[in-house]
Amino acid sequence: MDAPAGLLIFTGRTFLHFLTYLGQLSALARELMTALRSGVWRLKLVAQQVVAIGYGSQAVVIVTGAFTGAVFTFQSYGKFKDFGMETSVGAVVSVALCRELGPVLAGLMVAGRVGAAMAADIGTMKVTEQVDALRVMGVHPVDYLVLPRFLAMMISMPFLVAESVSFGLIASYVVTSMGYDMPSAWYLTHLVDHTNMDDLKIGMIKGFIFGMLITLIACHQGLAAENGAVGVGAGTTRAVVISSLVLLIVNFFLSIALNYVYPIGTL
């Protein structure tokens, strides 16, 4: 086989795999919608997942948000000072955290922590026939395993994004007021003047959508796990890699779309 033909076959196969993957994700999303409509939400499981996802992810999200806010402030302050605009640091950091950094970094951390746990949990259940045992007992795996995680993620993610943004702003404020001689009133006035509800809404909407995507991708990897511990490990890795990449790509298009609804830069 010559090289161009081989490349063509490789590209074709990759594209087919991609389409198959999209088809499987769509099928899972459809089952999830059916489960949502069924109204059997198993609130005890949802509460357990809120604790595991929301409560358990707080430390990682807070630390990420705080240090991102701090370092962003530290780097931008010097450059802004060159233009005599150092009082605008609060506004820039705040808008960036609300619109982009808060949801994206919280999403990436949750994809790593929670996405991996979901894929590993469900994957282990799959390869040890626990998922089949659920089916045999008349319990649909999507109803029992995916729906509670999905609902818990939808509840938790906006709060986690809000925490990430809040602690980023607190850290930014601490850096400017303690590290530099800028009066805190200036920082806060600019921050409040240039951050509006739309910026916060964008962060929350993104967090909500990222949460749904992470759950869908991670649960799909879990339910598709095969081949014992090796398969669970590979599925877990794929869950984190795919959900992180999808999150970054979706974030770009979401930013453009949300900018039409909530435009930036119009004061």
Binding site: Q130, A133, R135, V136, M137, G138, V139
Partner: protein
């Protein structure tokens, strides 16, 4: 304990409870089942034997709709299993329960919670009734003292017996057992054989047992099906199995290694 035939033979005129017609199943390039035809009457106990990898578990999973055939039809209690979608399987899964080879207990639940799970999922909310039936099911498998333990702290035999308690608690009309005796000592194995016999005598449960334990077969089976090269190579009573002059059957039941050659 001497091998003995079960005391309650199924009614010869009873209607077919389970029927497999021309089942073909392929995984990748390998054809596992090449036309399986099998009929089971209500209350009958069928043991499925055969070399490893011949599709015994796959056959069993077709009955409960965990696997769909590439060709052929599966009927359980008059319902066309392979025409149903996953969410339409509930009526079949109320009638048929299954013990998995590794027991498939839920790691996050105690023994008591595992056994109670199918009852709670059927909508039973009376806590006292659930507790009573869990205790009854666990006592039937000699595990009444281990309610609070988690599956990871149980031995292989105890896990299997917990799996059986979970399979019998809903009092299904049919129970599928995937190698219930594997990895058990002779006494543990006998406890399970006695329990299968008890379920048949007391509740008229239809049982299908995938097993390699020849002693069990002669104790509990009404009929034996031997799978070989994707087909049912032998189907008959344990006495007919023992008397069979077929060299493949004889090699298998006597454990001679050239059977899979």
């Amino acid at each position: 304990m001497a091998a003995s035939a079960p005391s309650t033979a199924p009614d010869a005129n009873a209607a077919a409870f389970i029927e497999l017609r021309g089942i073909h199943k392929r995984f990748g390039k390998q054809e596992i089942l090449c036309g399986i035809d099998l009929t089971l009457k209500h209350g009958e106990t069928l043991c499925i034997i055969g070399p490893s990898g011949e599709g015994k578990t796959v056959t069993m999973k077709h009955i409960i709709g965990l696997i769909q055939p590439d060709e052929g039809d599966v009927f359980v209690a008059g319902m066309h299993v392979n025409k149903l979608k996953e969410r339409e399987m509930a009526p079949i899964r109320q009638k048929v329960s299954m013990l998995f080879q590794g027991a498939a207990l839920f790691d996050r639940m105690t023994v008591e919670e595992n056994v109670a799970f199918p009852l709670l999922e059927t909508g039973l909310r009376d806590k006292a009734e659930v507790k009573r039936r869990v205790r009854e099911a666990l006592e039937a498998v000699d595990l009444g003292e281990h309610l609070e333990k988690y599956p990871t702290s149980l031995s292989g035999g105890m896990r299997k017996r917990t799996g059986i308690a979970r399979a019998i608690i809903t009092r299904s009309e049919c129970i599928l057992y995937d190698e219930p005796n594997s990895g058990l000592d002779p006494i543990g194995s006998d406890i399970i054989d006695q329990m299968i016999l008890r379920m048949q005598k007391r509740y008229g449960v239809t049982s299908i047992i995938v097993t390699h334990d020849m002693r069990s077969i002669f104790k509990i089976a009404d009929r034996v099906a031997m799978l070989y090269r994707g087909k049912i190579h032998f189907l008959g009573t344990p006495a007919e199995l023992r008397a069979s002059s077929d060299p493949i059957v004889q090699d298998f039941i006597n454990g001679r290694s050239d059977v899979t050659g």
